[in-house]
Amino acid sequence: MNVTSTPTVGGSVRSLPRPRRRRTDRAHRGITAAIFLSPTLLVIGLFTVVPMIMTIVISFHRWSMFTPITDMDFVGFDNYARLLNDSARVQAIANTGVYVLLSVLITVPLAFLIAMLLYFPRLRGRNVVRVILFATYVIPTIAIVIIWSNIYAPGYGPLSAMVQAIGLTPPGWLSDPQWALLSLVIFNVWQMLGYYVILLVAGLTQIPEELYEAAKVDGAGIVRQTWSITLPMLSGSLVFVVLMTIINSIQVFDPIYLLTQGGPAGSTNVVSFEIQRSAFQYGQAGDASALAVSLFMLIVLVGVVLNAILKVRKR
């Protein structure tokens, strides 16, 4: 590229047999590209795209997973209609909505404040704290479930002991329908927070120092600086963190399956658990797929809305 564009030797280079060699190179590179891409396209095509299409197709059929797929019957929108009339599934959707909303409302402001604390005041030990915060993210969810089910345990659990120590009556964290979903949200926030803090600290490092210098000259205090500089400049990272929080919490499965099985009284039943239960315990693949497609549509909707917010913000 450099050689051909050098003006002094341009003519002579063009007269050399190089162009022909380049063309065969290009053909050769086309083959290389195909070879380099084929494993990826094969895996993603066969195990993501094809199943996605199949999910949509199955959602319009009645199919018991215990019979061959060729036995499935076309039922149109029946599965979707049934979904809306099934109180357990409607509750699963509502619970998922509450779970996602609470996760976002707690995680994003908390992650933002911690990111500010870790970035601005140059405190000693901040890098160690960053590593500690992230450590919870790499531990298997099932191990965290085991820790927290014991921390939440009535009587010998340390959380109840702490709550009692300050003179309050501890709630039945996972056994009380009023508290169970919130307890699972706390668990989720605890596990994921470090990841979002890291993303936001990275976003903070991208804000030019001069903006703060100028604001300081104008006499702006820390609150004003945060409101007028940090938040608008960080909006891209914040939207990304909101998106990741939603995507991660909308598919919550492991803690529900392991800890509550959707109980008590259906208060922690969520969409992914309902999909898994419908399909693999009751064999209702059509109903499960209708629910899966609905979940997918919700995620697309979230993506579209967040994208629109980002565009408006940029204007």
């Binding site: 050689v3 190179d25 590179r29 290389t32 590209a33 380099f36 494993p39 990826t40 895996v43 993603i44 993501t48 094809v50 199943p51 996605m52 999910t55 604390l117 870790l118 601005f120 005041p121 140059r122 405190l123 160690v128 590593v131 500690i132 915060l133 992230f134 450590a135 919870t136 993210y137 790499v138 531990i139 298997p140 099932i142 191990a143 965290i144 085991i146 820790i147 927290w148 009587g155 010998y156 002991a161 605890w190 990275a202 976003g203 490092t205 991208q206 120092e209 598919q251 499965f253 392991l258 992914s272 898994q276 693999f280 693949a285 499960a288 797929s289 497609v293 979940l295 997918f296 995620i299």
Partner: protein
């Protein structure tokens, strides 16, 4: 030095900030501390009310029990095979695809790339039923290959590699081509060494992700001898709900968490930076 503007001036402010920092560190640390001490408590001490904050007579009985009551060593090995296999495969496929998307030009490239990236936001639960059907009808349910097959390539890896390979200078690749290096050699000898931090980040990320993946092995595996450690832990958990067995389960959780924790701690400097820049670039 330019950041000195926010450096707290008074002792009171400094103290407050450090107290906050300690709280921010203590909240994630406490449950981990509690995991470790509980694994070494006797069953009687474990369920004592109020709880003790340090084991009074530490014992290794629970760890031993967790290791022998279920085939724990075998399932750790299974996890290494599954997580290791997925990691190596994702590294290879992502570097090759990332290189093509970063440095080649062809019609439909961007559409293809962003379509792949879009699959990043598709939760595995959405495609679980047909995926189970596909793998089963290939006769691969209950096999290591069946566990691995859907995870041999993924969008996040391709996205990450493409972002970093885009920063590799074209001149370098062009010069290597002039020297007659094959495209394959260019990738391994010139590109990969330049994006080492990103490669390490992806490797650690994939290892942790595959080690912790629960839903897919739960769906596709029946034979306990093939269970990864997360499924064995699940079995240990449902073994008995009796209180005096609870801290055997905890000892199991501690052992199962060690490999990912160790991998993370060894690589944390590069890994945390890599995850951070994945967000900035994204």
């Amino acid at each position: 030095m330019s950041r000195s503007r926010i450096r707290p001036r008074t002792l009171a402010q400094r103290t407050l900030l450090y107290v906050l920092l300690i709280i921010v560190a203590a909240v994630p640390l406490f449950p981990l501390y509690w995991l470790v001490i509980s694994a070494f408590k006797t069953p009687a001490e474990f369920v004592s009310i109020p709880p003790t904050w340090f084991p009074t007579s530490p014992t290794l009985d629970q760890v031993e029990s967790a290791l022998t009551d279920v085939p724990f060593a075998q399932s750790m090995l299974n996890s290494v095979i599954i997580a290791g296999g997925a990691t190596i495969s994702v590294l290879v496929t992502s570097i090759l695809a990332g290189y093509v998307f970063a440095k080649y030009h062809f019609r439909g490239k961007n559409l293809m790339f962003w379509s792949i990236v879009a699959t990043m936001f598709l939760p595995p639960i959405v495609t679980l039923v047909p995926l189970y059907y596909l793998i089963s009808s290939m006769g691969l349910s209950d096999s290591y290959i069946g566990v691995l097959l859907p995870w041999l390539a993924n969008a996040f890896g391709i996205f990450l590699m493409r972002q970093f390979i885009m920063d590799v200078p074209d001149e370098l690749i062009e010069a290597a081509r002039m020297d007659g290096a094959s495209e394959f050699r260019i990738v391994w000898q010139f590109v990969v060494p330049l994006i080492k931090p990103a490669v390490v980040t992806l490797a650690v990320f994939m290892f942790v992700f595959s080690w912790n993946n629960f839903l897919w092995p739960l769906t596709i595996l029946r034979t306990e001898a093939m269970y990864p450690v997360v499924l064995t832990l699940n079995r240990l958990m449902s073994y008995t709900m009796s209180f005096d067995y609870q801290n055997v389960v905890i000892a199991g959780a501690l052992i199962a968490s060690l490999p990912t924790l160790i991998v993370f701690l060894i690589s944390q400097r590069v890994f945390v930076q890599g995850i951070a820049s994945s967000g900035v670039k994204g």
